[in-house]
Amino acid sequence: MAVYKRRYNSYTSSLTPPWSRFFVLTRFAFADLFKSRFFVLLLILAIVPNLFFAGYIFVANNKTVQLLMQVRGAGADLFSVETRYFLIIMIVQTQIAFLLNCWVGPVLISGDLTNGALPLFLSRPFSRADYVLGKLAVLALLLSAVTWVPCLLLFGLQSGLARNGWIWSHLWMIIPIVLCSAIWILMLSFISLAVSAWVKLRIVATGVVFVSFFVPMGLGEMFNAIMGTYWGHLLNFSLLFQLILTSGFREQSDAINSFYGRGEVPVPAAWGMMIFVCLFSLFILNTRLRARETVRG
């Protein structure tokens, strides 16, 4: 089928391994994303706080700089880099990840569904699971780049600068950093993919992602106020994540309790709720991502 011959020839050369083909979707999605200047700006802004965090770690471990800044002695605790510091980094970065997800997630599937391209994907040796995996990988990679990856780099920086065996006494933090980021990234990704599969307009879809976080939160607070309980917090996904995070970092969640009041949802319940949201989003994706719609009746 060479261009100059204008003749059809079948393809007989090598093929890529089937397991790797989901990544084609990821690659093309990233290529499309990076065409948008707004996205690039958003990504840069999402990474900028890490520079401040890194600067703080550098100052905290550099007595000369502290003396030059004339802060040494006056506020020794000001530059403490311990568990709570990494907890703050995680909270800040996961909220930034939420914003990034609201921009990127809603367009991932809707573009394929708007003009019926899904049957073209599924008429190839490519399953719905591969399709979801390919789209999920976009968000997973992107959100990882602003959550646990920079956090681990900062952890490495602190370990390198602190010495005195700091790394060995804090090594356990790697697990909550990765695990808590993973559940947050999965939940955000599945919610926005599910929304993207239902809502075609970007602005509306972004709004729906916001709404899917804030409306349940409001409903939960109403439930708490009416019933005099704290179980309504199960609908506050940010709070659930912060509970998981603080428990993972072995920190007391007093601050969270004092903000929301009336005690605390058990951490296993918070995990259970976040996993349930992921499964429910998968269920929505399963009903929506079909090569052909079946009309009942």
Partner: protein, 312 residues
Amino acid sequence: MTPTIELDGLEVQLGGRTILHSLTGVLKSRAIGLLGPNGAGKSTLINTLLGFHAPSKGSARVLGLNSHTSGKALRSLVGYMPENDAFISKMSGVRFVRYMAEISGLPSDQAMERAHEAFVYVGLGEARYRPVGTYSLGMKQLAKLAQAIAHGPKVLILDEPTNGMDPPARKRLIELIREIREASDICLLLSSHLLRDVEETCDEVLILRNGQIASICNLVEERRANRKFLELETLGAEATFTTALESLGCECAVFSSGRIKVVMPDSVEIREVFKVAADRGVQIRRMNHRRDSLEDIFLNAMEQTGAADGRL
């Protein structure tokens, strides 16, 4: 040789309704046409062959692969051009085809090369860098064909390929389909409302009506049979002429006014009929092949399975 399509009591239910009722048949030709009125189940059959719908009973096989249990293996052989719009509007044509080819398993560089080739081949070379969303209806059809052939499939499934095309574009597309069929060992399954499209591209037709097989007809054999059936109008010594034809192995039936119907055996060619006529001094004033067109076959099939209501 493995049949192209085998249907073994295939039944498909969708939304609680039975759409395909116990379809059984074997289609061996390389180019198969799928005909039937609206709602006959053509698209459902195609979707079932692609593994989009699971059979509630029976099975369907394409090139020996079960559409349900070996769906992925089967789809690795297939190029599919759907009936409805199917594209990513913001992508340029060539990028869209490359994307689809890569999903089919072509390495990136090969996919790019084949995407360009496919686009030029279908006649959209000049428009390949434009977003697919800006294409006209006919161009979108051609872009769909390009994505269906870019990865070099063994089976090409075309669902209403000439929908929305003007006559010259339709002619060009039919020529392309015939070229593709003849240039390689590709198998073709073409579903169309237009009998002419099927007649021009296919060797065998499966006619569906109300989810049942109305007829399976081998057009090649039908055409061959038609070639051997002559209607003559003669002037001269009919009796000696028919006797001479019968001595060649032909069967003749003589009617009034010199009209003769002749069924020729495979070994006899038409020029021998002329030669016999010339030897006997018989003038052949008119000669017709029986022309049992696909339309006749289709209408017969419709009549046999129920009242033909003229709808296609």
